[in-house]
């Protein structure tokens, strides 16, 4: 597993006798002193053949006895079905996931206390249509009934043609997205082609599976565009020059996309891949086009055309369901996505502040400028007021003409 390899959890402790009581330590150092007879420094350093830079000294003996998956695992101290997501949620009237949105810490652990209560409130959504994939999310990070950060980023680009919305624990999502990005980049370097969105979803799902049953909480929708060409030649030769050419091409795009502000975020990871389209040599017939996958840390992996995740998702679904269809124009799709997030943030306490919008096309992802939804609320109030006035005027005019 990626994380266990990095942290060296599965390897034997490097300095086992540092945990031993002082009496036995004297014996060993005495022995060492006899053997080496050298300076006092080497007397204290045990000789070891393997010294990986990744291994670190873990001071507590018990932690080494536990399996890495159980490390820090919170054990539920009370047995109420409605807060335990592993319980049989076939009961029609139990709402396990909705109750999770409350900021009350669900598991009170005697062994490892949570540093602070974790919250799961958010509204994120993604859908596919003829113009690509739209991913939208709010920007409020909540924590125990407070707003921990009003300007967090819930949509994280994984590579040039894949963005991922995050929901659940922000730290977990950020970490696993980085790991996913690393694995995808390695795949790309080894196989000279990008892994498809479905493949990325499967990879993430399999990476998260060993942590099922722990406190890890990641619910992501992967929104990507599957391309169909092999990477030609040396990617490293595609430098910033072609990258800026790419962005220029985006700036002079069609009128309908004029509302977008293309991102100038030269990410070293995405630079070579962003120039895919300019360096395609082979076209193979594969499934291409916009793709949307929902991946959850309890192992669920679904392909679909519309997903919304988080405490505000029911509100977003109700706006999206009536208005999404394949033939939407880009402007319409953007406005529907914005409105869905706006309505969800209006009703849901744990969503709010700003709305982020990403649009993924064959050329890659583009980010819309972040919008403050407070302004949207006042604008809507203004529009309502004007509409009411107009209607009043119309009725008055009709009365006068009669």
């Amino acid at each position: 597993m990626a994380l266990q390899d990095v942290c060296g959890f599965l390897n034997a402790p490097l300095y086992p006798h540092w945990n031993a009581p002082p009496k036995s330590r004297e014996d060993t150092t005495f022995m060492l002193g006899k053997r080496s007879g050298a300076d006092s420094v080497s007397r204290w350093l045990p000789r070891s053949s393997s010294s990986s830079p990744m291994e670190f000294y873990v001071p507590v003996q018990e932690y080494l006895m536990e399996s890495p998956i159980e490390f820090g695992q919170i054990r539920p101290s009370f047995d109420s079905d409605w807060t335990n997501p592993k319980a049989d949620d076939h009961l029609p009237y139990s709402l396990p996931s909705i109750s999770v949105q409350s900021a009350i810490p669900l598991y009170i652990s005697p062994s490892v206390p949570l540093p602070f209560p974790l919250g799961h409130g958010t509204t994120t959504l993604g859908f596919v249509f003829q113009g690509g994939v739209i991913a939208a999310a709010d920007s409020r990070s909540s924590c125990a009934g407070l707003v921990a950060c009003p300007e967090s980023q819930k949509i994280i680009p994984v590579h040039s043609h894949l963005v991922s919305t995050t929901s659940g624990t922000s730290a977990d999502c950020a970490l696993w997205k980085r790991i996913l990005a690393r694995e995808l980049r390695l795949y790309q370097l080894r196989n000279r082609r990008r892994l498809s969105t479905g493949g990325a979803a499967k990879l993430l799902s399999h990476m998260l599976h060993p942590f099922k049953g722990t406190e890890l909480c990641v619910a992501a929708t992967l929104c990507g565009w599957d391309g169909d060409e092999f990477l030609g030649g040396d990617e490293r030769s595609m430098d910033a020059g072609t990258q800026s050419k790419g962005t220029d091409g985006k700036k002079t795009g069609s009128v309908s996309e004029a509302s977008f502000q293309p991102v100038a975020e030269p990410d070293a990871k995405t630079q070579p891949t962003a120039s895919n389209k300019t360096s395609s040599t082979l076209i193979t017939t594969k499934q291409t086009g916009p793709r949307l996958y929902y991946v959850c840390s309890d192992g669920l992996r679904l392909q679909g055309e519309l997903f919304s995740v988080g405490s505000g998702s029911p509100y977003a679904y109700s706006i999206l369901d009536g208005n999404i269809h394949w033939g939407l124009s880009v402007d319409e799709a953007v406005s529907v996505a914005r409105e869905a997030v706006y309505r969800a943030t209006h009703r849901d306490a744990y969503s709010g502040n700003n709305v982020d919008l990403y649009h993924v096309t064959a050329k890659g992802w583009r980010r819309r400028k972040r919008e403050d939804l407070k302004e949207e609320y006042y604008r809507e109030k203004e529009r309502e007021r004007k509409r009411v006035e107009e209607r009043r005027r119309e009725i008055e005019n009709k009365k006068q003409t009669k």
């Binding site: 399996s67 998956i69 159980e70 592993k86 949620d89 076939h90 029609p92 709402l95 396990p96 996931s97 909705i98 799902s205 599976h209 099922k212 049953g213 929902y294 959850c296 309890d298 192992g299 669920l300 992996r301 679904l302 679909g304 997903f307 998702s313 029911p314 679904y317």
Partner: protein, 197 residues
């Protein structure tokens, strides 16, 4: 919440599963296929806890394929069912048991059709008809009343339609559509989705 049903005839097995993928009160997908093709004539229908279903079913699927690659011939439905049950049983008393309920349906050249009922406690029983889920409470007695061992294919589909009608009438959840498949000596056939509009 989820529903599986299987009906065995003299030379075929008819299976159906609902198409809903739900997450607490929301249906996140309306066209989700819960059947996994283990081989040309074996289907595994799998419901249960969110991630466990796909992980376990794909694990069994790949292992059945591996057996075929290694030995040159396919596992029979009985062997596949027992293999599945053994895996469930092995994981049952581990830290990560699989909470899945299964129906395995297949056609064997020598033994004929077979329908196997398995549940999350790794019980295994071969049965002429079986169902999983809350819908089973409503439909098992219909199956008891109208099932005969010498059903024709059309009669079996009619029996299935009766069950689906009862679900639409009395089951509190809206299970809008069902995938229906039939296995016989020619292989797996897709039938029309129920209920017919």
């Amino acid at each position: 919440m989820e529903y599986l049903i299987g009906i065995q005839g003299p030379d075929f097995v008819l299976v159906a599963a609902d198409n809903v993928a739900a997450h607490s009160i929301i249906q996140i997908k309306h066209d989700y296929d819960k059947m996994f093709k283990l081989s040309e004539k074996i289907l595994l229908l799998c419901v249960g806890e969110a991630g466990d279903t796909v992980q376990f079913a794909e694990y069994i699927q790949k292992n059945v394929q591996l057996y075929k690659m290694r030995n040159g011939y396919e596992l029979s439905p009985a062997a596949a069912a027992n293999f599945t049950r053994k895996n469930l049983a092995d994981y049952l008393r581990s830290r990560t048991p699989y909470h899945v309920n299964l129906l395995l349906a297949g056609y064997d050249a020598t033994d004929g059709p077979g329908l196997y009922y398995m549940d999350y406690l790794s019980a295994l029983a071969q049965a002429p008809f079986a169902a999983h889920g809350y819908g089973a409470f409503l439909t098992l007695s219909i199956l008891d009343r109208y099932y005969r061992p010498d059903l024709t294919r059309d009669e079996a589909v009619e029996l299935l339609k009766k069950c689906v009608e009862e679900l639409n009438k009395r089951f509190i959840l809206n299970l809008r559509s069902f995938t229906v498949r039939l296995i016989d000596k020619e292989g797996i056939h897709d039938l029309e989705k129920l209920p017919l509009v």
